[in-house]
């Protein structure tokens, strides 16, 4: 049998794992934490290999994420369906599993027996009551893992699981924020006669699926988009990115805004079933005298004509993207006199607990003034957000048709 470490040394090593998870939360990346965890786990249990597979919830599969002495698993991108094989069983049953005999009849992943592993022991990684992955160790020599061994491994897993999850969530947030930044136009196109400004503000600690976009068509039209994918974090930001690209592609195929949103809706229902989004798409005539608006469940823009109080534009409502096949897509055309400002926004700007949506819209209309779009953005954000954290993310886009002689 394997030489065991003394209880005092084991306690010391477990404290060591605790201390690296504490450090990890401030300094390490998830990869670095996992590497340190595996090194110490292998050491505590005097094992030859150690590996972590993390659960991909949407695929129902465990993905080899970190390994020591078994690096092939990660390099080859091993994926194990939950419920199958050694690791799959641990994840499905939420309990430790020990195999004293490893071959193709007991283990799904050929790397394990080809490597010469004779015995395996694994435990679930559990954070917030949910299985987030599996931690397993292996022995190249014949070995019977004991209940003491299992307890030790579970203790190591428990100390690491919460830190691993926090780091993964943080990395997802950073990725979502980077994606969000890369998809918002860095500089809005300046076309003769139009001035524009935009703002994006993440909600309380989390980026979401809000976006705005501005582009020109080859035929000279100026197009603006504002939209909101339901949900938050990386999944919403990824769907937002796909919608943004698809809408741009359809915009090149047809100038009819209703047809663009109909195609986008059909694409989303086929390729992203379950996703729901609102979109307001506007196509301005090349001379900017008129705008054609099509709304898929999105709040209408606020329109401020020079020297007149701002009001909600009377845009015919259409159904949200992803709700039902073949929804009607009415188009509303509005004349825009020089100096007129249009304010496009997402729900995060006006929705606050304890204030009705109507009240929020009233406050917004009072804050919108036909003036420079940059100043208008700043004033609207100051009036509606101020210094309070907004629960949901906010996208804001202002368009003004320049006054003669200023464009």
């Amino acid at each position: 049998m394997t030489a065991h470490l003394s209880p005092a040394v084991v306690q010391d090593r477990l404290r060591d794992i605790q201390s690296i998870t504490d450090v990890a939360l401030s300094r390490l990346s998830a990869d670095e934490l996992l590497a340190a965890l595996l090194e110490r786990t292998r050491d505590i249990l005097q094992a030859d290999t150690a590996a972590v597979l993390l659960l991909d919830f949407s695929a129902g599969q465990l993905v080899a994420t970190a390994a020591a002495g078994l690096e092939e698993e990660v390099r080859q991108g091993v994926r194990i369906p939950v419920g199958r094989g050694f690791a799959g069983r641990i994840a499905a049953e939420h309990r430790p599993v020990i195999f004293d005999h490893v071959d193709h009849t007991t283990v799904l992943n050929p790397i394990l027996w080809e490597k010469g592993i004779r015995a395996l022991m694994g435990v679930p990684l559990i954070a917030d009551g949910k299985v987030i992955g599996v931690l397993h160790v292996g022995s190249l020599a014949a070995r019977k893992f004991t209940t003491d061994d299992v307890e030790l491994l579970q203790m190591a897993a428990d100390r690491a699981a919460t830190a691993v999850q926090s780091l993964l969530i943080r990395e997802d947030r950073i990725a979502a924020a980077a994606l969000q930044r890369s998809l918002l136009p860095s500089a809005l196109p300046t076309s003769g006669g139009a001035e524009m400004a935009g703002r994006y503000a993440p909600g309380e600690g989390a980026v979401g699926g809000d976006w705005y976009d501005v582009f020109n068509l080859p035929s000279g039209e100026l197009c603006t988009v504002i939209g909101d994918v339901t949900g938050s974090g990386l999944p919403a930001a990824v769907i937002m990115g796909r919608m943004r690209s698809a809408l741009r592609a359809y915009a090149l195929e047809t100038r009819d805004p209703a047809e663009v949103l109909a195609r986008l809706d059909r694409k989303m229902q086929h390729f992203e079933p379950g996703a729901v989004a609102t979109v307001l798409y506007a196509v301005f005539d090349p001379c900017l005298e008129r705008v054609h608006l099509c709304s898929a469940g999105h709040y209408p823009p606020v329109i401020a004509r020079p020297a007149r109080p701002a009001e909600l534009a009377d845009v015919a409502p259409g159904l949200l993207i992803g709700a039902a096949p073949g929804a009607r897509r009415p188009v509303t055309t509005i004349d825009i006199a020089p100096g007129t400002l249009l304010c496009f926004y997402t729900d995060g700007l006006i929705e606050r607990r304890g204030r009705s949506v109507d009240e929020g819209l009233t406050v917004l209309c009072q804050a919108v003034i036909a003036q420079s779009p940059d100043v208008a953005c700043a004033e609207v954000m100051a009036a509606l957000v101020g210094s309070d954290p907004a629960p949901d993310d906010i996208a804001l886009l202002m368009f003004r048709r320049s006054l003669p002689g200023t464009g």
Binding site: T278, A296, P317, G318, L320, A324, E351, R353, V357
Partner: protein
Amino acid sequence: MFEEYLLQRLGPHAVITMPAEIDLTNADQVCQALLAAVSPGVAVLVIDMSRTTFCDSAGVHAVISAYRHAATTGTQLRLVATTVLRIFTIIGADEVIPLYPTLDEALADAAPAPAASGDPGDGRR
């Protein structure tokens, strides 16, 4: 907590009562309650928001999710809303879910065989 989503069966129909406020903090619960209420045995599900004073777009999306699920079970949805009526019309949800000012009117419309069509209270087009 679950009395907030009181579900009553009335023959082939059902009425689910929505909480006073629906926003990001409870929209998931509302969505789960609505999805559970939509079942193949329910011909018409009335979503009663008559005591709901606040509903934001997260709440609307919960109702839309229920609508999509209802399309697979053959259940028809009706929505009763007063204070929060505007958000459902402003974002076009009334195109697929008929809206009523009172529970009685929604039930009166739900009572006949669901095949009845051409009804002016029925917002389907």
